[in-house]
Amino acid sequence: MSDQILSFDEAMEKYDPVLGFEVHVELNTRTKMFSSAPNVFGDEPNTNVNEVDLGLPGVLPVVNKTAVESSIKIGLALGCKIADKSHFARKNYFYPDTPKNFQTSQYDEPIAYDGSIDIELEDGTVFTVAIERAHMEEDAGKLTHMGGATGRIQGAEFSLVDYNRAGVPLVEIVTKPIEGAGRRAPELAKAYVAAIREIVKNLGVSDARMERGNVRCDANVSLRPHGQERFGIRSETKNVNSLRAVEHAVRYEIQRHAAVLDSGEPVVQETRHWHEDTRSTTAGRPKSDADDYRYFPEPDLVPVVASREWVEELRAQLPEPPAERRKRLKEAWGYSDLEFRDVVNAGVLDEIEETIAAGTTAAVARKWWMGEIARRAKLAEVDPADLGVSPQTIVDLNRLIESGKINDKLAREVLDGVLAGEGTPAEVVDKRGLAVVSDDGALLEAIDAALAAQPDVADKIRGGKVQAIGAIVGGVMKATKGQADAGRVRELILERLGV
């Protein structure tokens, strides 16, 4: 039984959406939040755990200093205030992926609060999103539901629990209610999560891979009739874990809420589950008294006191914010708006910057990263950055071309060799014998043979029909397997024929 929805346009005619996001970011520390077990993705189940992660009787937590520093950095990058003193609390609820049946989190005193970030939309408009807080907590283990048809909770006969992820450090970033986005709400949602992902990646504190769950979004949506001050009742769509899904989920919820409101029914305050296959949400658990989490200060941990010196030391380590950096690079490189956006979307900003730094022009770097490398990446279905082409390779290739040693066509073959592990571009040229034939003697031999093979063409050229030269050039290129410089060949033919 699927929910009624209104068309997006109709929903927008009647209602204003109010959004709110809780984004969980998994930190890429070497160890877990409260134990020294490794924080590693993808290993055999229950091998990256020690007694603390399993919540065995008698264990105690100890806070990972790097996780705290990463959290402060995130807070600073979000323009937050860093709390002089923050502490951990226990959020009590029973669930088999939570080894202690409480989550150690921060409650009334988070490490960072009161921030804001500017979100740039596709058309360049900037939307400021206010950040309520960013707090530290620990991730849960991973449940796999078995026996059901779909691997979903519903219909499963039993579940298997792997606690490798239990205790991985998380920072939960919570926005204040976001008003005034109007019909751009879905776009803003996507852009917000993309911005958070970019910020934490740029800080180096998270791998920020959404497909691995490094960045996970809970999206809150409510509607209110135009002109109404009071917020409507919200739904919280849990674990929307790709940028596209965030956009779609917000759009869907707006349409669903609108239909509910139109019908005169109240919106139910509940969690919703996102389904990528049907691009829709279904009802989860309604808010109930089982949500009484009985928070209290974690007695096994002591407060985190962030001195000014410490915070300033961390602030000094922050990289340039992504938005500012983009602005700076665009100007420095002289790309057009469109060129620059394409580069950003291709995710090769770092690569182009490094390539330029390695000794080439912005134009050449773009030509390679957006051209040949992008083409290969698309074929291989990987990100261009993951193809394994180093900035130095591009610089080397470009030098070989400029010196006339190879041409563009040969350069592609040289790249094949580099990627096949045959060495630097120069080494590949040597090994494969790919250099352009620039020895006039060798060329003249080929030219004479070509002229002899096509005497009628030679006569035409002598007679002034210079445009017929292509056939001779083609013959020479064929004879030299493309390794000749076509321009030089042309010159030599004309010389030979005395034209």
Partner: protein
């Protein structure tokens, strides 16, 4: 019965060092004693015969080879079954953990192993240390060696009784509201709750994290000091562990001096509600200390009146959360619901219903209540404020006195079953010991003699400021020697003979 078992740990250590006895002999003597009397006392839930003898044999070998050994190497010890140990079951006195083996050692157990002290076994306790009589153990009560029809105190009745019955010269206890000191008082033994954070809690199954503390159980003040130095000190696995070094406690116990020391009698911990025999022995102790040159002053700690109430909000609150992990998923008991759908929720509910005893359930429900929405401020929050007031009372009292003194418990050992159906009456046993846990200050209980009306042991409690545990040993050693001089030997020499040689 080997006379060896009557020796204190200090004397055993000296005999071992001198080569007069072997560690195997000492360990075997205690194992024999356990075999003789523990059928009556039920102090042990598990006896660790093979490993204890192997450790002892190793010590003897090392000593023969001239290796440098810890002073207590080869001196056996019993461990409260709330503390996890590799190679032995750890049950916390609960059916929910019956048969569970920890894959890791508690920090204090690692320290015992490093000192090469043979671990004789695991001692009985109230389930999850919740009780004052050891009657709440899922594995039957421990009996008081002074009178087998009476309770040995709790929750560490097993450790206290084991030491009182000469089954072990030393034991480890845990003290959340008096669970080391009150059993010490009612069994005529010594028990110390160190400053909070002075001994690592890592591996002690938590009841109330902000109150729990592991400490020594022994038959003499010096022996407790010796053990305290083994187990104390900073532990990076416990975030609440103090960075301070453990200090010279043995030295303090040996020096034993009260001249010019101000000893504060806490007005609120005495008088009404305290058994006459307890009051009489306590008054006698004061006279002895005065005679030895101490200045006895009276101090008032008005907020101690609220300590018990605040304790019974904080302790169950933290316990309700600490005990949530026992759910039948990762370890321990799993009970399937008898009918209805087989969901994990229902398995958890059935497991916890079957695995926990009444007192544990009472405290979990009480704690769940105190933390629940709408009640937090009134209960848990208010209790934490009372805690501040109690700390202020201590601060004021310690401005007037170097150590404080009181009876350890209001009564001597009561009969098994007497208070089992009256939780409130049971809770009152801890009225004098709880303030120390609330404030984190150290406390020591030592035997003060026998109450005239029932001939049972009375405990005297000393309290010192946080991190000043040495003062307890310094004063305790003096009082102990004055009393023993008066009795003509240790109090336990007057205890009835147990077991095979009865």
């Amino acid at each position: 019965m080997s006379e060896l078992i009557k020796n204190s740990a200090a004397v055993l250590a000296a005999k071992l060092a001198a080569g007069e006895v072997s560690a195997v002999e000492v360990t075997q003597a205690h194992l024999d004693r356990i075999a003789d009397v523990d059928g009556d006392v039920n102090a042990f839930l598990h006896v660790n015969t093979e490993e204890a003898l192997a450790v002892a044999a190793g010590v003897d070998k090392s000593r023969a080879a001239g290796e440098q050994l810890h002073a207590l190497a080869g001196v056996p010890i019993a461990v409260k079954d709330l503390i996890v140990t590799v190679g032995q079951p750890t049950t916390a006195g609960s059916k929910i953990l019956e048969g569970w083996h920890s894959p890791y050692d508690a920090t204090v157990v690692k320290k015992l192993r490093a000192a090469r002290m043979p671990i004789l076994g695991k001692t009985n306790l109230d389930e999850f240390a919740m009780g004052s009589s050891t009657e709440h153990s899922a594995f039957g009560p421990t009996r008081n060696p002074w009178d087998l029809d009476r309770i040995p105190g709790g929750s560490g009745g097993g450790s206290a009784a084991a030491v009182a019955a000469f089954e072990a010269p030393l034991a480890l206890g845990t003290d959340t509201g008096g669970s080391i000191r009150q059993p010490g008082a009612v069994t005529g033994t010594v028990g110390v709750k160190p400053t909070y954070g002075g001994v690592s809690r890592y591996g002690a199954i938590a009841m109330a994290s902000s109150l729990d503390q592991i400490g020594p159980v022994s038959r003499s003040v010096l022996d407790s000091a010796l053990l305290h130095e083994v187990i104390g000190g900073h532990d990076p696995f416990d975030s609440t562990s103090l960075p301070d070094p453990v200090g010279s406690l043995v030295e303090a116990a040996k020096r034993g001096d009260v001249k010019g020391l101000r000893i504060g009698v806490v007005k609120e911990l005495g008088g009404e509600g305290y058994q006459p025999g307890v009051q009489a022995r306590f008054a006698e102790a004061l006279e002895l200390l005065r005679g030895a040159g101490a200045e006895i002053v009276e101090v008032s700690c008005p907020n101690f009146e609220h300590a018990l109430g605040a304790y019974y909000l904080i302790m169950p609150s933290e316990a309700s959360s600490n005990l949530a992990k026992f759910d039948g998923v990762r370890y321990g008991l799993r009970v399937l619901p008898e009918d209805g759908p087989m969901t994990i929720e229902r398995v958890m509910g059935a497991t916890r219903a079957a695995g926990f005893g009444d007192e544990v359930k009472r405290r979990i429900i009480l704690g769940t209540y105190a933390l629940s929405a709408g009640y937090y401020d009134a209960y848990y929050g208010s209790a934490q404020k009372v805690r501040t007031l109690i700390q202020r009372d201590f601060d004021a009292a310690f401005a007037q006195a170097d150590v404080l003194i009181s009876p350890t418990a209001p009564t001597t050992a009561f009969k098994l079953g007497e208070k089992l159906d009256d939780p409130l009456a049971m809770y009152l046993n801890d009225v004098a010991t709880i303030p120390a846990n609330m404030a984190g200050v150290p406390g020591l209980s030592l035997p003060g003699g026998l109450a005239e009306e029932d001939g049972l042991p009375v405990g005297v409690q000393l309290l010192a400021p946080a991190r000043e545990d040495a003062r307890l040993y310094r004063v305790g050693a003096v009082l102990e020697s004055l009393l023993e001089e008066k009795w003509g030997g240790p109090l336990l020499a007057q205890a009835p003979v147990l077991g095979g040689s009865r």
